[in-house]
Assembly symmetry: C2
Homo-oligomer: 423 residues x 2
């Protein structure tokens, strides 16, 4: 396709008229589709329905009755399962409740209330800042904002956050206490952090002694097209003498049932011991029966990996629709840019500058809800107004095809409108 | 039995020798029994095992797929269940995860980080104090201590905390921000707060605008011998113009499976709205499948009440053993005082002054673990060293009888030793 960006005013006006007519006919169809969140579809959830048949064997391997109180940090054989899956030593792991987000929130909450690494509680400091690779996950930014942390957006590269900038900032500013990372199939771009990026994060010098990496490995086994290896950041941090730097998070929310899965965190032995001390005041323990239900459903790490093959196969046609439609409708137009993710839950599309909000608004007016433009940036503020997150997982393939056709039309219409405005 | 306290030195010495011989023969039996925690027994948990057969119907009454993300504050029909059970309006309720203790911790955490009722966050204040009716629940005191709150013990009466003292303190000291209450079958004494006590708590004038009552109705339906009615504190607080004063907590931990139950909290609409705002940053929602599993197991509030009849029947023989043995061995000796609880999980025994620690140590040396002496007081400090919490639920009846025989012997031996010391 010819680049639309190089058309004359006259050609653009003609195209605008044509696009507007197509858009009007979509509006007449009274669509009602939601592509706003990274939710699995009902059909995908059905693939885990055998979970409901698991009659939990509630006596643990070491003879503990899991129906009763106790075991603050999780059932040992469930730790074994995740240790095998993620190569994290059991003794550096805490199994939590149903939400890794909740574990992240609590982790930052503890840093505020009690401090970490023997340093001053963050609530006592006049200013706390976090680096926020962006586009990123809106709920991370919501947590940071909740605690009044100032967010500094960091541009993403194909290998992860812009490490030159990260290294410079953390070295010069001791109020920068952390960074959010989704290292595999990042939300929303599907970027996998390179070995080099992980090593630089683990080893860089930071002005703050209690600088922390919030390592949200949300899509650790969630490939769609191709499995990527992730460098072991806990090991890399230890080798660099920064053992306490990393808080690692994972959950089965998008493996079995979102909201009824099992979350976990991992960190250095010192951090884990400190966290358990506070957790011991917070709770007697998390839901061990659901931990065992998850283990008994999968049997072992291989069981999870095989299940992820099934989920990847179920998600692939949806990603195909998104990527094929983008290619067919927008490739070469100069109006949109995207990368093809190998896994995760999203495709991120960048429109022309100043067109993301209008694109989302146009889609909404025609009955397709997208993630709000700006949501992928701290404070909901995408400075160039270009980034849109597409979540293919929830709609059916038929719905998704219609939604993507409309989406591409909206990108073009918004783009053409913008080009005419600028002429 | 004659009061041992009125014996002569010679008689005491003779008794001491006799008791010591009995004690030595217990020691020779190498007992190993744990009466330290309010844990249900395996047999009691078996009474809920049909929970494992519930194949969760995961579509809610309003058509929401509970396997997926969403519903921050709990499934509506599950709120209905607890609303019927506890007479709390659904719109004033939040269903949480598996632990009401965790909800209490988080509630105090929010008061520290964000404040409550529009007041200054407690973390910004030089001093925060809580009233701690004592003897009370050690885990409450652990939470308070975790946040650096100064704890002021308040004596208990047969109607609840000493309200004259409570009213005086909260009126004169605006750093007193809260009080812990277990209003029905209190831990450990089994005291039920009178209507008058509840009304005074709800209506008293407090110097702190953000004074809060932590209303842990842990044993709300957990009678053993006799059901007691609890005055509606949310209503009483509202009627007194103190609607935001009460944080109410409840869970099914000791109804179904401890650690895999469903917890809830309730408060004024203003507080609930404020809490949901913060919870929305903390989590996408709690485990809805376990909420539905609980509902579908019980069907309705009547189902819970009938289940509590079964549990009461199972617990009664154990309480009988404790109370009968106390009566047979210690009544009239002048060495121990206790009240007969109508429900809950504990019997509290007061020894002679300065004898609780020795009694617990003697029992431990003979193989019976009791709750640490002092644990029922803030900072683990029972100023008179008299209070011992007996938890009858976990051991079998046979074990419990042996443990109680030994316990009473230890009370007598410690008491006689003390009497001789003082002569």
């Amino acid at each position: 396709m010819d680049a639309i960006t190089s058309l004359s005013v006259e050609q653009l006006k003609e195209l605008q008229k044509d696009l507007q007519e197509q858009y009007n006919s979509y509006k007449a169809r009274n669509l009602s589709l939601d592509m706003s969140r990274g939710k699995p579809s009902g059909e995908q959830l059905d693939l885990s329905n055998k979970m409901f048949d698991v009659k939990v064997d509630y006596i643990t391997q070491d003879g503990i009755d899991a129906r009763n109180y106790g075991i603050l940090d999780g059932v040992l054989e469930v730790k074994n399962l995740f240790s095998d899956l993620l190569q994290i030593p059991e003794e550096q792991m805490i199994i939590g409740g149903n939400s890794s987000l909740n574990m992240m929130y609590d982790t930052i909450g503890r840093c505020f209330l009690f401090g970490t690494g023997g340093c001053m509680p963050w609530s006592k400091l006049p200013k706390v800042k976090f680096l926020c690779p962006a586009p990123g996950y809106d709920r991370h930014f919501t947590v940071t904002q909740e605690f009044g942390i100032e967010m500094i957006p960091i541009p993403m590269t194909a290998e992860g956050p812009d490490m030159d900038l990260v290294e410079q900032l953390v070295l010069e500013d001791d109020t920068i206490k952390g960074i959010w990372c989704v290292p595999l199939y990042s939300n929303p771009q599907g970027i996998c952090y390179s070995k080099e990026t992980v090593k630089r994060l683990a080893s860089m010098k930071t002005a703050a002694k209690d600088f922390r990496i919030m390592w949200d490995n949300a899509y650790g086994v969630h490939y769609v097209y191709k499995k990527h290896e992730l460098e072991d950041i806990l090991k890399a941090a230890k080798e660099s003498g920064n053992e306490n730097r990393v808080f690692y998070f994972f959950s089965t929310s998008k493996i079995t049932f979102p909201g009824s899965g099992v979350a976990l965190m991992a960190s250095s032995p010192e951090n884990i011991s400190d966290i358990k001390k506070h957790m011991g005041a917070q709770t007697i323990g998390h839901d061990k029966l659901n931990q065992l239900r998850t283990l008994q459903f999968f049997k072992n790490a291989q069981g999870i990996l095989e299940h992820m093959d099934i989920l990847a196969k179920a998600l692939r046609p949806k990603f195909d629709i998104v990527l094929n439609t983008l290619q067919r409708e927008l490739e070469g137009t100069g109006l949109a840019f995207w990368t093809n993710p190998d896994g995760g839950y999203f495709v991120a599309v960048d429109t022309l500058e100043g067109c993301a909000k209008e694109t989302v608004a146009l889609a909404k007016e025609a009955g397709v809800i997208l993630t709000s433009a700006g949501a992928t940036y701290p404070y909901g503020n995408d400075p160039k107004d270009t980034n849109i997150r597409i979540a293919p997982s929830y709609p059916t393939c038929e719905e998704l095809q219609v939604a993507m056709d409309l989406f591409c039309l909206c990108v073009k219409l918004a783009g053409v409108n913008k080009l005419l405005e600028m002429k």
